[in-house]
C-alpha cells in the first residue's frame, strides 16, 4: 500500500492503482466542473474523453485515468 492525499485527506491505496480509481476509492464521484459548472467524472477510462481531469501536485488538467499513484501524491478535484 502507498499513501496519497486527495483534497487534503490521506488515503492508503494499493500500488499500481490509477489516480481515477484512487479518487473513486476515496468516495468522490465528482472529479471536476465543466465551464458551465456542471459536475464531471470519468467516462471512457482510456484517456480520450478528458472528463476525469484533476490537479496533481499543482499541475492542472491531468487525466486521472492515465496516471498511476505515487507515494505522497497530492490530488485535488474541483470543489
Amino acid at each position: 500500500m502507498i499513501e496519497i492525499r486527495v483534497n487534503g485527506k490521506t488515503l492508503k491505496v494499493p500500488e499500481g492503482v490509477s489516480v481515477a480509481a484512487a479518487i473513486a476509492l476515496s468516495g468522490h464521484d465528482r472529479f471536476r466542473r465543466s465551464v458551465a459548472g456542471q459536475p464531471r467524472g470519468p467516462l471512457c477510462g482510456i484517456g480520450v474523453c478528458f472528463e476525469c481531469r484533476v490537479t496533481v501536485d499543482g499541475e492542472p488538467h491531468v487525466r486521472s485515468c492515465q496516471l498511476l499513484c505515487w507515494p505522497g501524491m497530492e490530488v485535488c478535484t474541483d470543489d
Binding site: V35, R53, E59, P60, H61
Partner: protein, 366 residues
C-alpha cells in the same frame, strides 16, 4: 425597393455597418452567403487595440477602440469584453528605444501608455521568461469574443428593422441592387460590400489578398496570462510583406483559456491547419512564456485576413460602380476597426460629417 441599403456580408464589418445604418434610420437588408461570422470574424482573436505605425492606422484604431470602450456598458456579458490592456514586449534591449518612442507618441495623443521596466514587466506577467528588458503597457486596450460581438451588432440592427438573410449568395452588384445565385433580384438605393477576402469575386481589380493565420487555444488555466501580450516584433510580422512569419501574441479568455497566436502567410488558399506553422508559432510563444510548454492545447484552427497592400481597409465609393460602397480589407484588425469603417460608410450614405478623414482609406488610392 427592397431596402435603402443592402449590406453584403454578415461578418463583424457588415454587422457594424448594419448597426450604424439602422441607427441612422435606414432600412437595411444584410445578405450572407454562408452563416453569419463564418469568415475572419469567427476565426480571429478579438483584440481591441491601438496601432500607431502611421497616422491613418492610428486614427482608425484610436477612434474604434475608444468607441468600443464607450459601448462596453451596453454590452451583454456574452461578448466577454474585458479591458485587460495590451503589453508590448521588447525582446532585446535594442528594441527599448522604439518602445519608448511609441509610448511618447501615444502619450502626446492623450492615449494612456506607460513603460514597464524589466521588474514591472515580470510582475505584470509572471509567466514571461525572466530578464526581458521591458514593455509598453496600454491600459485601455481590450478584448472581446468576436462572433458574439458581431451577433450583438446584428441583433441591434434587427431590432431597428433590419433583415438578415443567410445562405443567399450575391452574384452581381448592380446600380439598382443585387442579383442572387437563385436568379432573384433585390433592389436598394445603395449596396455596401463588406465581403472581406471574398471581395474580388464580386468586384474585380481590387488588391485584396487572403492572408492565412493560425490560432491555438488551451485548456483553462485562470490567471496564466493577464493582458493581451505581444512582442514588438509582431509589427514586423503584421506590417511586413514576407510570405510567411510568426510572432508572439497571447490573450487571456474569460474562461481562463489562453489564446496563442500568431502567424501570417500569403499565397496559401488551403484552410487546413499546418503543423509546421503551428509548431513554429507555439515555439515562439514558448520562447517568451516557457510554461506554455506545459499547457494542454485543445484546438488549432485557421482563418484568412483580407489584406491590402498598405494594411489599411478600403472604405468608400468604387469607381464605375454607381451606388456601391466598399468596406473591406481590414486585415488582422477588423474587430477593432469595423466601428470606424461603419461610421464612414454611414456618413457617405447619409451625407453626414465623417467621424474621421476618409481619404487614407479611399478605394481609389490603389
Amino acid at each position: 425597393m427592397t431596402a435603402d441599403v443592402i449590406v453584403i456580408g454578415a461578418g463583424i464589418v457588415g454587422a457594424a455597418c448594419a448597426d450604424a445604418l439602422t441607427q441612422g434610420g435606414l432600412r437595411v437588408v444584410v445578405i450572407e452567403p454562408s452563416l453569419a461570422v463564418s469568415g475572419a470574424t469567427g476565426a480571429g482573436m478579438g483584440h481591441l487595440l491601438i496601432l500607431d505605425e502611421n497616422e491613418a492606422e492610428f486614427s482608425i484604431t484610436r477612434y474604434s477602440r475608444d468607441r468600443w470602450n464607450q459601448m462596453a456598458m451596453e454590452m451583454p456579458s456574452s461578448l466577454e469584453y474585458e479591458r485587460c490592456g495590451t503589453i508590448w514586449i521588447a525582446a532585446v534591449p535594442e528594441e527599448l528605444p522604439l518602445l519608448k518612442q511609441r509610448c511618447a507618441f501615444l502619450q502626446s495623443r492623450q492615449v494612456r501608455a506607460e513603460i514597464l521596466d524589466s521588474q514591472q514587466l515580470a510582475e505584470a506577467e509572471p509567466n514571461l521568461r525572466p530578464g526581458l528588458p521591458g514593455g509598453l503597457f496600454i491600459p485601455d486596450d481590450a478584448i472581446l469574443y468576436p462572433p458574439a460581438a458581431a451577433g450583438w451588432l446584428l441583433k441591434r440592427a434587427e431590432q431597428r428593422g433590419a433583415a438578415v438573410l443567410t445562405g443567399k449568395r450575391v452574384t452581381h452588384i448592380q446600380a439598382w441592387g443585387v442579383e442572387l445565385e437563385d436568379g432573384s433580384r433585390l433592389e436598394a438605393h445603395h449596396v455596401v460590400c463588406a465581403t472581406g477576402m471574398w471581395t474580388p469575386q464580386l468586384i474585380g481589380g481590387l488588391p485584396i489578398q487572403p492572408r492565412k493565420g493560425h490560432l491555438v487555444i488551451t485548456d483553462r488555466y485562470p490567471g496564466f496570462v493577464r493582458h493581451a501580450v505581444m512582442e514588438l516584433g509582431y509589427l514586423k510580422s503584421a506590417h511586413g510583406r514576407e510570405s510567411e512569419s510568426v510572432a508572439f501574441n497571447v490573450q487571456p479568455r474569460k474562461t481562463g483559456q489562453v489564446l496563442i497566436g500568431s502567424s501570417r502567410q500569403f499565397g496559401v488558399t488551403d484552410a487546413r491547419p499546418e503543423s509546421r506553422i503551428i509548431s513554429s508559432m507555439v515555439q515562439r510563444a514558448i520562447d517568451f512564456m516557457p510554461r506554455i510548454a506545459q499547457l494542454s492545447a485543445l484546438r488549432a484552427w485557421t482563418g484568412f485576413r483580407a489584406a491590402t497592400p498598405d494594411r489599411l481597409p478600403m472604405v468608400g465609393p468604387v469607381a464605375n460602380r454607381p451606388n456601391c460602397l466598399l468596406c473591406a480589407g481590414h486585415e488582422g484588425i477588423g474587430i477593432t476597426t469595423c466601428l470606424a469603417s461603419a461610421g464612414l460608410v454611414s456618413a457617405f450614405i447619409l451625407g453626414d460629417r465623417p467621424p474621421l478623414d476618409p481619404k487614407p482609406y479611399a478605394v481609389e488610392r490603389f
